[in-house]
Point group: D2
Chain length 355, copies 4
């Protein structure tokens, strides 16, 4: 299959944690999806039995899909719901619920951090390491699961790894990154307004460690049913800024052999990967858009490009300390969360991994 | 003289560009100053002859000093006004006006960027390189001036250099810095609200170059009436965030020989310099306050400490790429502009350089 | 003609002031318009001869239409360009340019304030007073113009008048309104960030007068080629808040005979007008959406509904001082500016007023 | 006693709910107070036994008083602590704890809403209705308490009532008010950042009712141990805006006989009351400052005037619907909460009501 077409067939999918912020993004992005049909919404006991309209408080700026509002929310009971379930659960809930669903035969396409670093769980950005997905065979064998768990990275890691993916060919040595992250990444109620109005919070708990380790796994080599982490050393400083959507990252890269800004620009411009070849419904036409404007990318002007699925890169220039520095921006709850998971499911469908 | 005391004597000073944002900060900070008395306010022709109250629109959150409001604003005419004049002029105006004042015998304590990198002009942070001030002897000789120009660095450079100053003893090799800068640094009207509300602007024109070159001059060695730039390599990425006052900087440092976070912390904690020894009126008791809180420094909570003259440093920790990383915060229009200039004047008075 | 269809025919239109903020909204909203084709872009001399991409700095969050970017910007020369021109000029420019275009035979669909209160110029919101449009016959006769000028109200007036329109049937007596207006209403560079970050500016020059007088004209009765202003007394307090798009208005209404919140709600819910009957391309399916949520409407959640063309009303409840109070919200640069003008043009086309 | 002097004597006071936002303001404002010495800090069981430094997370922009940091936090046990206790408890806790303290002999100076509308509890702004304080005699008698509860109004009510107080002489008939309230009024964590960044929330639960009823009680007449509510009708619309400190209120007033803006201005300018006569330590020199600037008051520029204890009023002008309209601004956590309570205690001490 090489086109955006399943022959008219639609696949029913469910959403775990459907009332939360990531869950709402799943519901929004799946509305009108050409392949997937949201057939099942699940959340905590508190929401069970209520309509979706009653159970959640919608917090996205586009209105909720009319079809979803009338659906009855169920509890997160393994075995209920369709084979493919997207998980917008937080880590505490995901720790127990996701394995139970995988054991019961579900393909859990998860955004939670719980199993990202598990050696048998693929941590995937389809443009960068779709080749890690066969890891689920080992996962099933070792765990004795009929289903599986597939994860996408942390939002800030996705922005960085999307940029590093096409540069891996040059030999990545060391990377410094300082992030300026949006509040929507912290969920709801998330960051108190008193902490962030006119302010910067210069740390995000656990975020730097995730960026440093997840990046190595994503860029790693898949061989003999294992991921050999990439040797790149990443140093991250993560901050929160008063922005609603869009993580901005100030990145500096050292290659094994010095590369120029022009080399980097050419590699980013040329970058196409499996989602583009397969013309997956959620894939942007190009994964990365480079801009020549001196003051871009900016969250307000660039974060919604291509439905929030593209990474915008600007200010590619020499770095006096490492080799090349640049600014990257991505939509943290679309490309960095729900959209990332949906793209994972799409590539698995397109590659017949779910048959 | 070793105390905060001029024996009751007060020195009259003037302010060039008194109606602008930096000028207003000069007027505010000089109000009630134990040594200096604001005796002369000068601005562009448009303001000439009007009272200060009429000529400017006050934009600071503390009210304007009552004494200043009734003063008549004069034009920027060299030879008028007291010997010491603080300059809050922008670079275009400063290019011509500051040399004319220096030629006419004034000591111009300037915040403008115009002459910072001039080899005969001291670029001074009193805690870091007060020993560069004797450069004005050469300046006078070469220019034939009776007065002189003394400058303070760019606001973002001051925050960085204050941190690097006490670490110079360890041998500074390479520094990476990403700034998150407040809008007040751009003056008034400055940054349009449409550009910055809920947004990040990932560049500030000329700022990265200033941070990279000014830092080398400030940390440089003074010998035989010249400044030998420090060999440290600085790579800066500068961004604007929706914060009113306070530049936050994400810094990573490599030393000639590896140093630990504990070494850095000890050096910053122990740091005292001439302004503290001399107990200068505007000097903070300690130049740098280190915090152990995981989520500090923050502009909203830390920028007004010690009247805005202290640099707050937090999150000192190992950097996997360079050696040590940390977050630094300083008040950009106080420690980074008007307060910096006033401290320059104070150290010159205390060291009898203006007699 | 009763459907959204011109029989496949497309009408060429131009944009005066195409490089400004309102001009950019015209270009964005006209992109893909079923009836109108942007065939001509005009701006000040500074932009003349440059491509649109070079001449303007795009400031909207959706990307500029590809077709427009390559168009050559012309000067605002009467007689050049298509018959219908949309004007995003500011008042100073509009004062002279719009009459010149009208004299030269153009139908100027203007967003400028210059001629709104001219007794021969229609000031129109198609849902409220499309019946004022025939005023252009008198305008042409008195001015000797072959073309005409048609205006839409000020952005804050549109939100208010859209709510008052369907309540006119009850006999409007007195109205109090306090606005909380977005910064995009002030254009670019517009409001300096230092004035609005974490702040409220409790006045907008000229805005209160416009709301008080324009509302009376819009709600007025058209008879014998004149508009008899409505007798409602409006008292407005206008403020600016740190919001990018969306004017929120706190409104309280007194009727000639007391009416209940339920009466108001029923009238707003039932409201349909000519643009809905004619199914005009830019008209929302319903002009006003009422919400029952206790904390709505909100700019972030509601301003983009129906492409920004709908007014959202919430919290309809008794007012102890007047009769009924409520909160209204509208998109100030879409429904309140460029979208308003386009809807004016559409109704004129549909009603064969431009044949 | 007519001066700011207790003859050197200091009165020990305690703070209930010392770790919360209002509690922190009490601790900050009492630091260095000439009459009161913070001798006892109490909070919930979770904090009991810990030092104040450990028990709370400081959220104010000025640093916490050094003396307080080492104090041991106790539980809210009636009978413990000094006679005067300031209560920064939330309403749920205050419901039970405040009466228990009053029963045990404490004078509870409360900022909680729990007992504000109790007919035996004074609801006091010292500048407006200090004459209601003798109500505590009846309160003690009816409740059988040795102590008492004295309350200050809700933050938004204080701003309004301070303006209405000096206008009561003209005969107040009807008042319309729309508020633009700061997030600090909601405590911590309070308003989620996703709800307020670049947004307006057009309602605050219970706030409108409080403004409408509390104002009548405050402005009421005290006679025969009861407060006869003032007959003024207040209609409030309350909104939340992205401001940290400072409630802005758009007010329109109708008098029994029409009064001009000049009348209102003269009455506000002339306003002095008991706190000013008694020169109470926390009282501003004048309770209300009127400004002639067209765009003031503004939170950023005016909220910190006189330590946050003054109300700033601007734009006094005719109202076409009622009589006079104006903009008022006050600091919601100082004049509107902790500072209000401290002033209540001061006036009681100065009037020898606590002997």
């Amino acid at each position: 299959m090489s086109t955006n077409d399943l022959g008219g067939r639609q696949i029913e999918v469910g959403v775990l944690g459907a009332t939360g912020m990531v869950g709402q993004q799943f519901v929004r992005l799946l509305d009108g999806h050409p392949w997937f049909k949201t057939a099942w919404l699940a959340a905590s006991e508190r929401s069970e039995g209520r309509s979706y309209a009653e159970a959640m408080k919608w917090r996205l700026s586009s209105p909720p899909p009319a079809d979803a509002l009338g659906m009855r929310v169920e509890g997160c009971t393994p075995g209920r719901g369709p084979r493919i379930v997207f998980s917008g659960l937080d880590a505490t809930a995901a720790n127990e619920i996701e394995p139970a669903f995988a054991a019961a035969g579900h393909i859990v396409i998860s955004n939670a951090r719980s199993f990202r670093m598990d050696p048998t769980v693929p941590l995937v950005i389809p443009e960068v390491n779709a080749d890690h997905l066969p890891l689920i065979a080992r996962q099933r064998r070792e765990r004795g699961w009929k289903g599986a768990i597939v994860t996408n990275p942390n939002c800030s890691t996705i922005v960085l790894s999307m940029v590093l993916g096409p540069l891996r060919q040059f030999g990545l040595s060391r990377v410094m990154v300082t992030t300026l992250q949006a509040v929507s990444g912290a969920g709801y109620p998330g960051v108190p307004s008193l902490d962030i109005l006119g302010n910067v919070i210069p740390s995000i708990s656990g975020e730097e460690e995730k960026m440093e380790s997840e990046t190595q796994k994503i860029l790693g080599r898949y061989e003999r049913e294992a991921v050999v982490p990439h040797g790149v050393t990443v140093s991250a400083q993560t901050t929160r800024v008063p922005v609603v959507d869009g993580h901005t990252e100030s990145v500096s890269i050292e290659f094994q052999d010095r590369r120029s800004p022009a080399d980097v620009r050419a590699a980013l411009d040329a970058f196409r990967a499996r989602p583009q070849e397969l013309r997956l419904p959620t894939a942007p036409a190009v994964p990365i858009i480079c801009t020549d404007a001196a003051d871009r990318p900016q969250p307000r002007l660039d974060v919604e490009r291509e439905g929030g699925m593209v990474i915008t890169v600007g200010r590619i220039r020499p770095c006096p300390v490492l080799h090349v520095k640049l600014i990257a921006l991505g939509h943290n709850t679309v490309r960095g969360a729900a959209g990332a998971a949906i793209l994972n499911a799409e590539v698995m469908v397109a590659e017949s991994m779910l048959d």
